[in-house]
């Protein structure tokens, strides 16, 4: 009698259907455990029918799979045949459950408490310490070993990547003189930047998939710019550039709100499609709506002798989503 499943009392196997004194089961002359029920040949027929239909669907799956090439084989056909095969097996089993097995109602006790076993366990543990005189010292030593061994076990995880040194998060590929290229690698001419739209730019010769690489470039009316004094010469001809990576959670900014009726509508703004952080283009990327906590970093620009756009230096602040050091000074030490 396993204590895990409750004690069987003498009345535990009482059932409400069937006849306990009926024909003995298993040919060994003992009383029945599971009461006999009435046969139901119609139900048996239905079960066979369902299983045959299920078999046909399974065969249909195999035949379809074998006969057609991958592109000619409709996914719907495979899903329908396999799915319906399982469904019909389920129907067959439901008929078995409702008509072909006897559904008894039996009772068991819920497991009871065993306070004796609980106290005996506690007692055994207490008594096992009869030979120990300085328990706290031993436990302290064990704790010391366990703690340091735990540290040793965790230490190799630090090889997975840089941990103590977060300067990789600070780096971007931009420096004064680096030329700006578009998504196909062509250098961008200042004359090809038009108002009321935005362009994605990348550092020439550097990986595009770096958080610090992508920028958005727009042309605005220089008279409307209200940038901090230090950034006066960052926008040649009203062409202005910001990091494309939102300072909230790191999505690429892909929406540009341009004013359709400038006198009454708000000014141009960059909007991130993920959580709708909105950055004001004319005031240096300040957050005017949405959850972002830091303004969008701005990239200084100049136009070189051949008319191409080049970076005038690194960004005004660290790019991307924030972390502990993101606002630390200096912004970009020696880069």
């Amino acid at each position: 009698m396993s204590p895990l499943f409750g004690r069987r009392t003498a009345s535990a196997e009482r059932s409400r259907s069937g006849d306990n004194g009926a024909p003995p089961g298993a040919g060994n002359g003992r009383a029945r455990i599971i009461p006999a029920g009435q046969p139901d040949r119609r139900a048996e027929n239905w079960v066979v029918a369902c299983l045959v239909i299920a078999a046909m669907f399974a065969a249909g799956f195999v035949v379809g799979y074998a006969m057609f090439s991958p592109l000619a084989l409709p996914n719907e056909y495979l899903g329908a045949t396999l799915g319906l095969c399982f469904i019909f097996i389920g129907i067959a089993l439901t008929i078995v459950a409702k008509r072909l097995v006897v559904t008894e109602e039996i009772e068991h006790d819920y497991p009871t408490e065993h306070p004796e076993a609980q106290s005996e366990i506690a007692q055994m543990i207490h008594e096992s310490g009869s030979r120990i005189t300085r328990k706290k010292l031993l436990l302290g030593a064990a704790g010391l070993t366990g703690g340091t061994l735990g540290l040793a076990a965790i230490a190799p995880a630090l090889s997975l990547g840089p941990f103590w040194n977060t300067t990789p998060l600070d780096r971007t590929p931009w420096y004064r003189g680096r030329r700006i290229v578009d998504v196909d690698g062509r250098p961008m001419l200042a004359d090809e930047i038009f108002e009321n739209t935005f362009y994605s730019g990348f550092p020439e010769g550097a990986p595009m998939d770096n958080i610090g690489s992508p920028i958005v470039i727009m042309r605005v009316n220089p008279a409307q710019l209200r940038l901090p004094a230090a950034r006066r010469d960052w926008t040649p001809d009203g062409i202005i550039a910001y990091s494309k990576i939102c300072t909230h959670a790191g999505c690429a900014i892909e929406l540009y709100r341009k004013p359709t009726f400038p006198p009454v509508e708000p000014g141009p703004a960059l909007v991130c499609p993920c959580h709708y952080s909105t950055f004001d283009v004319l005031t240096g990327g300040t957050v005017i709506f949405g959850p972002a906590g830091r303004p969008l970093p701005q990239l200084p620009l100049y136009i070189d002798a051949s008319g191409y756009l080049r970076a005038g230096g690194n960004f005004s602040a660290r790019v991307g989503p924030g972390w502990w050091n993101v606002r630390e000074k200096p912004i970009y030490g020696t880069y």
Partner: protein, 471 residues
């Protein structure tokens, strides 16, 4: 029947004897066969989750044999023309191959994705059933806690699964996950550098790591948690509703596992598996060839995570612009509120609930009977309010879609939801509690009426009996 060694040969008893002589399991098996299942449809929800998990393992093994966990760039040349000549990672390429060039590959992929959604949905509905019937009370608090760990682990597992494809839509989600990870106070930066190996998008190794976590480490954890969860349910036996005189806190009444319950549970398994394959074949999900390969410098409007992470995108959108700084150091970058603290609070409230409820009601007794929701008005009202709070935040996660449907601008919706997520739960709390109390009162009144009728009939019978006796 022939008789050998003094025993009759029996085609069933012989193999049973063979196995028991070598494993000593007959006593256990005999008890297991008569394990009692109380009967209620809502007790099957956990089983549906279990069967969805089995489909996940089966289809997952299949698709893992085609997947390449590498972000090495390759150029696509294959039957899907819109992508022809495009540069993409080997991972994305392997999923496109599986979808178009491996027979039954798309079926397995879509069934796997549907099974993940159904798995988590079944857990959530099962959680609500357990909560509203008080089945988490002593002695089942540990089962409840393990169930919550299962739920949150499955969020992570699903997220990693669809992110492995390296398409643009899931890649945006991974980028956001990186941003949320960075926002973990103080250690976020080092932690993300450790996991990704470098600043986002990380080294090529990152996808290998996510792959091993998704196909081995986390499934191992899930399977272990499921095993412990089921063992605990079996050890304490299932709760039951008080449906007859014989069901009590000490006595469980229901159908035995064998032969009554087994075909029922198996039928449910086959129905679940069948529906999942029907969905995988007939209802398109996650058509990754339409999203295109991932590039960290591209995004798209209207992007949503899978449904079970909708509550997190809602929280990230709803939280106003607040960074907490100490001097030049940023203690709480903004994503930490919606991405870390909000799910943390939800998990803690749910885990603590059995203990807090026991404290507040002073009820530390063992409960094997499930309650009807109306029998615990405060708990039901709190559950409805908490659910409404999380649900409204979840709805806001799709606010840009709601705008397209309803025409209310995003800023208007933000204002409405900023108020609604607090006001609606509070109102619902009081309304729900009132409804529960009224239902209880009318139940008691109905029971009292029945009792009075019953006594009146007995009284009348007694009188009639006295009159009809001679003398």
């Amino acid at each position: 029947m022939s008789i050998t060694n003094g025993r009759r040969r029996d085609p069933i008893e012989d193999p049973v004897r063979f196995i028991d002589e070598r494993t000593a399991t007959s006593v256990l098996l005999r008890a297991v066969m008569r394990y009692v299942f109380p009967d209620h449809w809502s007790f099957l929800l956990g089983e549906v989750a279990l069967y969805a998990f089995i489909v996940l393992i089966a289809t997952g093994i299949y698709i893992s044999l085609f997947y390449v966990p590498s972000t090495a760039q390759t150029i696509y040349h294959g039957p899907y023309k819109p992508l022809d000549g495009q540069t993409m990672s080997a991972a994305y390429r392997s999923v496109i191959y599986l979808s178009f060039q491996a027979k039954a590959g798309l079926l397995m992929r879509q069934t796997h994705h549907w099974a993940a959604d159904v798995f988590i949905a079944a857990i959530v509905v099962h959680l609500m059933r357990v909560f509203f019937t008080g089945a988490f009370r002593k002695p089942r608090e540990l089962t409840w806690t393990i169930g919550l760990l299962l739920l949150f682990t499955s969020f992570l597992e699903g997220y990693m699964g669809y992110s492995l494809v390296d398409d643009l839509l899931s890649g945006i989600g991974l980028q956001i996950g990186y941003g949320v990870g960075l926002s973990v106070p103080i250690i976020g930066g080092p932690l993300m550098l450790l996991i990704f190996g470098a600043p986002f998008p990380g080294r090529n190794l990152f996808f290998s790591r996510m792959y091993i976590a998704h196909v081995f480490l986390v499934p191992l954890l899930l399977a272990t948690l499921i095993g412990v969860h089921l063992a605990l349910v079996a050890a304490r036996h299932h709760t039951q509703f008080k449906e007859s005189e014989r069901t009590t806190n000490k006595r469980i009444v229901g159908a035995p596992l064998f032969p009554a319950q087994a075909p029922r549970s198996l039928a449910l398994m086959f129905f679940t598996v069948g529906v999942l394959f029907l969905l995988g074949g007939l209802v398109q999900i996650n058509p990754v060839w339409q999203w295109g390969p991932f590039h960290e410098w591209a995004s798209e409007n209207g992007a949503q995570p899978d449904w079970y992470l909708g509550w997190l995108i809602g929280a990230l959108r709803l939280m106003p612009s607040v960074d907490v700084t100490i001097g030049h150091f940023t203690l709480f970058p903004n994503p930490v509120w919606g991405g870390v603290f909000f799910p943390g609070i939800v998990l803690m409230v749910l885990v603590a609930f059995p203990w807090v409820e026991a404290r507040l009601t002073g009820d530390h007794g063992v409960h094997n009977l499930a309650q009807r929701p109306r029998e615990a008005p405060n708990r039901t009202a709190f559950g409805v309010a908490f659910l409404a709070w999380v649900f409204l935040i979840f709805v806001f996660g799709a606010a840009d879609r709601v705008y397209v449907l309803v025409g209310l601008g995003y800023q208007t919706l933000l204002l409405i939801f900023h108020i609604a997520i607090w006001v609606v739960p509070i109102v619902l709390f009081f309304i729900t509690r009132m409804i529960c109390r009224n239902l209880l009162a009318s139940d008691i009144a109905a029971a009292a009426r029945e009792q009075a009728e019953h006594e009146a009939i007995e009284h009348a019978r007694a009188l009639a009996g006295a009159r009809s006796r001679p003398g």
